[in-house]
């Protein structure tokens, strides 16, 4: 028995799940409908796939949510997991699920997949025969991913960096790398049985003033960590920056460089997709403004040629949307996309060159670290502050980089901290920044964070 299989058998021996039948699960995936695989959908359509966010505690409410989504023309269904399950606290999730079922109130902010189990959940997934994407935020997602794949959820979001730096204060980063390595290997193993399992990185990060150079570096690294374990279908992603130009530039460079680095490491056969998140920062309370923001981001998604868009709703500022509001958002995005086919490609050469340089400079510093494996190089890079994200709660994050918006709304690096970018690249960034006389950087940042309010 392989080491991985031995570890898997230990992981699934958990008091909160029924007997896990590896043979049966393998048979299920081998003969599963192609319609359940987003990787298959990417291959067979030229249209942008539309995916909302959403998850409720009980089976019935998720079933109804999916029904609503299907009526609105959804392409990919989400399954958002509750916060207790994300922290591996299945006992609390179980208690809250029971309370939700008895009292018909939602005591969890998502679906406790471990407690529902794969046998039950699979019924719902195969009933709708539509790809489902697992949305969570879990540093140790080993059991969760086993149960998700066994349920017929063939897209797994997350990664050791993107689900840690924005989500945790002190979960150990080295453990996160190793636990995600397990996830990649399981996804890779199942990918050989039918269509590939798709892995997706979470580009929005802390969704607050994230400089594209850092987002792209982290996207490329999580892609490489996944592909080196044998994953064949991977989605890189980023969220709306607040500047249409910067979104276009980010997308052009991300597409080019993710392919380049995948090929450089010999992953020529891997398929790489691009996912665009509608605005992830603070939403306006005015629902008309929200509608306008959502429409604009749909236009941008079409301009950047995203393979999938992840939608928001006009209720974003007020909390978790109802299934009706959520489905309406999907229908509206589909409606808008219908007008946006065959757009010309636009670009800005100077901007693309500078972003490309910054990403390459950081990547070279990471790859030149003396450690023997990629994950250790990345671990060291984060420890040294060669990679950090603005506004992370995690203790390992360096918190030296400061970003502000230029007059066109582009996010620029004002303080580079320990980022290993060249003087030339940094000078380009700084040259775009305009501070008013006596304007304090921190006041500018506060204003720039709330740009959509």
């Amino acid at each position: 028995m392989s080491l991985l299989q031995r570890e898997r058998e230990i992981i699934v021996q958990n008091e909160f799940i029924d007997q896990f039948d590896f043979k049966e699960v393998e048979e299920f995936i081998k003969s599963a409908s192609k319609e359940l695989f987003i990787s298959h959908k990417f291959k067979t359509t030229n249209e942008m796939l539309v995916q909302p966010r959403g998850g409720f505690p009980t089976y019935d409410k998720v079933f109804q949510l999916y029904k609503e989504f299907k009526n609105s023309g959804v392409d990919v269904l989400p399954l958002t997991i509750d916060s207790n399950t994300r922290l591996n606290d299945y006992a609390t999730a179980k208690k809250m699920l029971a309370l939700s079922e008895e009292n018909d109130v939602d005591m969890l902010n998502g679906y406790p997949l471990i407690n529902h189990g794969y046998r039950t959940t699979r019924k719902m997934i195969t009933h709708y025969d539509t790809p489902v994407s697992l949305r969570h935020g879990t540093p140790d997602a080993r059991l969760l991913v086993e149960i998700a794949l066994a349920s017929g959820i063939f897209e797994i979001e997350g990664g050791p960096i993107t689900y840690l730096l924005p989500y945790s204060k002190n979960f150990p980063l080295d453990k996160a790398f190793l636990y995600w390595k397990y996830v990649e290997r399981v996804c890779a193993a199942y990918s050989e049985l039918n269509e590939p399992i798709n892995r997706e990185s979470f580009g929005p990060l802390s969704a607050t003033m994230q400089p594209p150079a850092i987002v792209l570096v982290i996207q490329i690294i999580e892609m490489l960590l996944s592909l080196e374990e044998g994953v064949k279908s991977f989605s890189v992603s980023f969220s709306q920056t607040g500047s249409m130009l910067q979104d276009v530039v980010s997308s052009n460079v991300l597409k080019k460089l993710s392919r380049k680095y995948a090929d450089r490491f010999g992953h020529n056969d891997a398929v790489i997709n691009l996912v665009y998140h509608q605005w992830m920062g603070a939403f306006p309370y005015n629902k008309h403004y929200s509608d306008s923001l959502i429409n604009t981001s749909t236009v941008i998604a079409a301009m950047v040629g995203a393979d999938k868009i992840i939608t928001k709703t006009r209720n974003e500022a007020f909390g978790i949307p109802t299934k009706e509001a959520n489905a309406l958002a999907v229908a509206n995005v589909k409606y808008t996309l219908n007008m946006l086919k065959g757009l010309p490609k636009i670009s800005d050469e100077a901007e693309e060159e500078n972003l490309t340089n910054m990403v390459n400079e950081i990547m070279e510093a990471v790859l030149n670290d003396s450690a023997d494996t990629l994950w250790r190089k990345v671990f060291n890079a984060i420890k040294k502050g060669h990679i950090e994200i603005p506004f992370s709660p995690h203790i390992i994050n360096a918190n030296k980089v400061i970003t502000v918006r230029d007059p066109d709304g582009n996010i620029r690096i004002h303080n580079k901290g320990k980022l290993p970018i060249s003087d030339k690249s940094f000078a380009f960034e700084r040259s775009k920044i305009r501070l008013k006389e006596n304007e304090r950087v921190v006041d500018k940042i506060i204003q720039d964070i709330g740009i959509m309010l």
Binding site: K169, S206, T208, P390, F391, S392, P393, I395, N399, I402, R440, V441, V442, D443, I445, I446, I449
Partner: protein, 134 residues
């Protein structure tokens, strides 16, 4: 001047914490930022370890009231007469009578209390307080 800062209790709202950090640095303070989810005991330990001049506790989710009650007990165990104790943010859950919050927190042992006060104004007042005390 050294400042220890952080978000008290089980509160992970990091954005304001980073802004406080940056603002203090811009004003020339040496900042020891304990980040989110910090307990009162950790704040006190850090003040002793760094020999800080100011402890700036912040709260966004409003639960600071429960977390700061023991400040008096902790303060009595060590000589903190040179340290300014300051708290700011949303200092109550839900709608509060702001007039009552000041005396309540001063009673816990804070010298400066800022409930929903603009960050720069709070820091201006801190600087004035430090100047006057000299």
């Amino acid at each position: 001047m050294k400042v220890v800062t952080g978000v008290v209790g089980n509160d992970v709202h990091v954005v304001a914490n980073r802004l406080i950090d940056i603002s203090l640095q811009e004003r020339g303070f040496e900042v020891f930022n304990l980040g989110v989810n910090t307990y009162l005991e950790e704040f006190i330990d850090a003040v002793i370890e760094t020999d800080a001049d100011v402890l700036l506790v912040s709260s966004l989710n409003g639960e600071a009231e429960g977390w700061c009650r023991d400040l008096g007990i902790l303060k009595s165990k060590y000589d903190f007469s040179d340290v300014v104790f300051m708290i700011g943010g949303n200092l109550g859950v839900g709608e509060m009578n702001a007039e009552e919050l000041g005396p309540k927190y001063r009673n816990y042992g804070f010298d400066l209390v800022f409930h929903q006060v603009d960050l720069n104004e709070g820091l201006d007042q801190l600087e004035n307080y430090l100047k006057e005390r000299k």
